[in-house]
Symmetry: C2
Subunit: 254 residues, 2 copies
């Protein structure tokens, strides 16, 4: 008898940003796998069991969840934001591909969620209003040279950039290096947004420019957005500035 896997994105942290679809999936599950702080967001009922694990154990967590689903349970695997964007959905697919054949037959469903960059962008205005890239600055699972190459390619072609995993205790220099690289490619006045814990206690938004952006503004809970050369800052007296990327791009100056 085979159970189910529900991969659920919990959004950036504001409970009002969890979709009804995700709420329904969470109510159906018997067992919950995820990084402890994400599981802490859930109010589990007596019949629901919590299986917390540490941050960097995605693949073993995925395998444990699949094992339990194969045994007939309805298993929720949760991520912050969207589970499909630098979250657990890819780890589960990888585990299914490399695991026992029967795992391919498990009912597997991903329930999308609001990923962090969308919440940060909404707070700032519309910095992702035109072509953009999402890139993880973590070199745990890819060589740093690949990250540098992608930064140069995307910034050089006029994409706005959203950085996930900009910094951690084990990765203290990567964001500063990314800013350095971008300063060679983008105007000094390019807007940079630091969005920390948006929608949660401890939220902090900061808007600056590339020449003034300092990596120590960011921590593990921060999503950083770097504009394109077309991204604009609209100052508003008495209100935070609006940052937006115009719908039209690459035309002669308006």
């Amino acid at each position: 008898m085979s159970g189910r896997i529900l991969v659920v994105g919990l959004g950036p942290g504001n409970p009002d940003q969890v979709t009804p679809e995700a709420q329904t999936a969470l109510a159906e599950a018997s067992d919950f796998f995820g990084y402890g702080p994400y599981l802490d967001r859930l109010e589990l009922s007596p019949g629901q069991t919590r299986h917390a694990s540490d941050n960097r154990e995605e693949l073993s967590r995925a395998r444990a969840a699949l094992d339990m689903a194969a045994a007939g349970r309805t298993v929720a695997v949760v991520s912050g934001g969207d589970a499909g964007v630098f979250g657990m959905a890819a780890a589960l697919c990888e585990a299914i591909e490399s695991g026992p054949l029967e795992w391919c037959g498990i009912d597997f469903r991903v329930i999308p969620g609001l990923t962090a960059m969308l919440a940060v962008a909404a707070r700032a205005g519309a910095p992702l209003g035109h072509d953009f890239c999402a890139i993880s600055l973590s070199d745990n699972l890819k060589p740093w040279e690949v990250i540098e190459k992608r930064l140069r390619a995307a910034a050089g072609a006029g994409f706005v950039l959203a950085f996930y995993n900009p910094v951690s205790r084990a990765r203290p220099w990567q964001l500063a290096r990314a800013f350095e690289i971008l300063r060679d490619i983008l105007p000094a006045s390019t807007p940079v947004i630091f969005g920390r814990a948006v929608g949660r206690p401890g939220e902090r938004m900061a808007v600056t420019t590339l020449d003034e952006a300092r990596a120590d503004e960011a921590d593990m809970a921060t999503c950083v957005i770097v504009g394109s050369p077309e991204t604009r800052i609209v100052e508003r007296s008495g209100l935070p500035p609006l940052v937006y990327s115009p719908r039209s791009a690459g035309r002669p100056a308006r």
Copy 2:
């Protein structure tokens, strides 16, 4: 007296994917601006007024909404998906920047929503599980050469690509040309996903490879995702395949 502007993303179309935050904002508004088919999704109450406009009139729609907010109304401007991703939020920022000074003082809030690529990706597995770009294939507001440059840069650097506005009656050849360009850069076996009207009546998902991808699979309601060289298809007997982009990238073959 100044009112408010609430810019609301309605998600891909499944009502269960509208966040409670968006629902609350919609309940507070007196006037609703947007493209007709998006306004059709709302159930307005007697005191709420609908101001529908056509598809390509974003800037004049934004100005009309700001005018009404400046007169003291609570105005919702709706987009499908996320209003910050190729939606109305950027048009509103542009209108604020270029409009009368008093518009800068209007209480302006963007409520994020699930953008189409997240819903399509969730249905397919985890194709956006690693670095990716979102790019509009519409050359209404940018020259086609800019789009070609961005396609080459992003695909060449290993990003997964999500295409918005892949095709329309007025833009019949752009997606086929994009596939042509990508065939010079990416392996023939690169996975391609067509996700049409995901979560709505008429949903259709198709997974193929770059050498077999045909532009006429897509229409205006389709989001197309093209994998990176690392993106994988996991065949499952009796179930649709899973498509995912591994968390690790750019390492020697596993």
